[in-house]
Point group: none
């Protein structure tokens, strides 16, 4: 009765905790051994729980990977909202600072843990058509965000007035993607990569 008013009892909290742990363990397994090579038993064993327990928390193997991706997508979109939302800045200085923050945030997410790009870019798309579509949705979402960001830059007069924001957004996201993939093999090159990306973006490659 004391804490019955709170929406979460201790049992409920325990439950959410285990749910979280299962998602994490599944992420580990899928990223390390691959979705198809991972059995539910592997995920359960990693947590030291019975594999029947898994099915108390998730419908089936396909279900968990959706939640794993949800989780990653949440992390990424979290990095691109709030203070980093396209319209959260209004001066050039702020714009530049935001630009740097976004780069850093993405760099941290993708670069710190190579399992993130591995799962999202290498494992997920091959799971099935529905998942491939989810990843494409994610690219579309990212393109829309970047486009909004560019539009804002054009409005501020910071970027070229004739910029094709939509397609340029996709090109820039492609560069970020390339950085993420590079980081799978050469994590140490990430800073230089980001710098190169920024230079291409702002200055192009042509001699003046």
């Amino acid at each position: 009765m004391t804490s019955s008013a709170e929406p979460v009892s201790r049992a409920e909290r325990k439950k959410q905790e285990l749910r979280r742990e299962i998602i994490d363990a599944a992420f580990d397994c899928f990223a390390e051994r691959g979705y198809h090579a991972t059995g539910i038993a592997d995920v359960a064993a990693r947590l030291g729980i019975g594999h029947g327990t898994f099915y108390r928390y998730f419908q089936n193997k396909r279900d968990i990977v959706d939640h794993v991706v949800d989780d990653l997508v949440g992390r990424i979109t979290g990095a691109l909202t709030a203070e980093n939302a396209p319209d959260a800045v209004s001066t050039l200085d702020e714009y530049r600072a935001q630009s740097a923050r976004i780069g850093e945030a993405l760099g941290r997410i993708f670069g710190e843990d190579p399992r993130v790009p591995r799962l999202l870019l290498f494992e997920a798309p091959g799971i099935d058509r529905a998942m491939a579509e989810r990843i494409l949705d994610l690219f579309d979402l990212a393109a829309a965000l970047t486009a909004a960001y560019l539009s804002h830059g054009v409005e501020l007069g910071y970027l070229r007035a004739d910029l094709d924001v939509e397609n340029t957004a996709r090109a820039i996201n492609g560069m970020i993607l390339g950085t993420a993939i590079s980081s799978l093999r050469a994590p140490e090159a990430q800073a230089a990569q980001s710098e190169a990306l920024r230079r291409v973006m702002y200055d192009g490659i042509a001699a003046r």
Copy 2:
């Protein structure tokens, strides 16, 4: 014995032909239904051959996908060599023409048949670690080629002298990758994509 000197007898030719057809059929299946969802029986059925026959031409399921990827890699590197090799040009005009040719060729390969990027980027990396490494190798190769191309551009004075060719190459390849992925959903936007890519590359996005 009579014709053992000749590299290819009629039987041998037949054999090579079927081998080729199996690779193509496997490509079709893998790209359309996915590697794991495709059975050897599906590939054989598409050709109207017995599925036992498959094993007379390829070791196993894993073997064939390697050959499918070989085939695609060959097509891509083919587009980037000969007249499009990094050092095949020596004037700015040639350099620009080559640049356009490469863009066109890649656009054709990736854009004309969405199954190519789908297999190479969405299916292959998730098959297993070895295949993921192959795809990363492919990215490295592409980066090396692009870097050589950029170096040449710098030497010619066409590109910025302080260009970080290695990392810029990866950024540019990332943009190409982004274009290829975009083409999965919006093939009609490809031309505009390429144009945006080129403008970013040569001019950057900043207002002057």
Copy 3:
């Protein structure tokens, strides 16, 4: 300790009540969805109790179905004893009246609720050998009762003196069985069925 002498305390009564409800719920489930398709969780959910609670009242899934069958067998034998016991009548008129009463009673039990024949004839025998034997025991019991009834009829001079009571009893019970099964699909035909059964029984089908 205080009321250990009394056979039923309030708690004990509660317990018996829930026990009864579990049996009924199990009967419902088994008859509607089938024994194998029914989970203990289904039975518990129907009562709104936790499925762990089930095991405080019954040993296991196999145990409960025994009790469900017990219950039905009790209902049936109840209809065939007391005033309907084979030797409860002594005149032809009483015999006839008893005959009608038995028919009515069985008709009510089997006909009113098709789940009774469904469980007893369709579900139970397939559960396992032991249960099949129980059902055969039930047939034997019914045959013995009917045989006693026929013997009595012979003694009263109401039935043919040369009647093979044992085997005729089984034949008659077979007809009742047939009626019960028919009622699964055509409950409305039950009265006509019973009439036809009686006519065959008493008059045969041959023209005179």
Copy 4:
């Protein structure tokens, strides 16, 4: 080329043979251990084949039991057609002879191998609703046949003119059913059972 005209090659014949053996083995298993207690592996092991082979011949476990039942139904209807068809006789003597033949045939099918009634009456109805319906269909079919047989008897003046053929048919079939069930425990009583059945049928049980 020699025998390519024949619809069945040796391979095809082999295939049909194994198919037949699987049905028989499944019948054995289902009748002896029960449908649910029987695994596909059991059926395969009984034949000394790999259990994967089973799936080359039947869709799934549910599929095979349908074929087993088909087989039994075929045997039974076979006994009730041709010379035993309701309208295959035209004189009283023939009618009686046919009656005896049918009794004999059914007695042989049900009595010789107790696994037949066990599977059909004890196992099949509890498998699932669809199978229960099949069994009810079988009862309906049998009732229709018996009714036709009785109608014919009425026309011939052999049976009571006021006979309720439909319901009487079901009563009679019930007696046959009773005999079949009895034979599970007392196969030796079958002849006496049949005789009692016939006497009830033709003469009734009442004293004259």
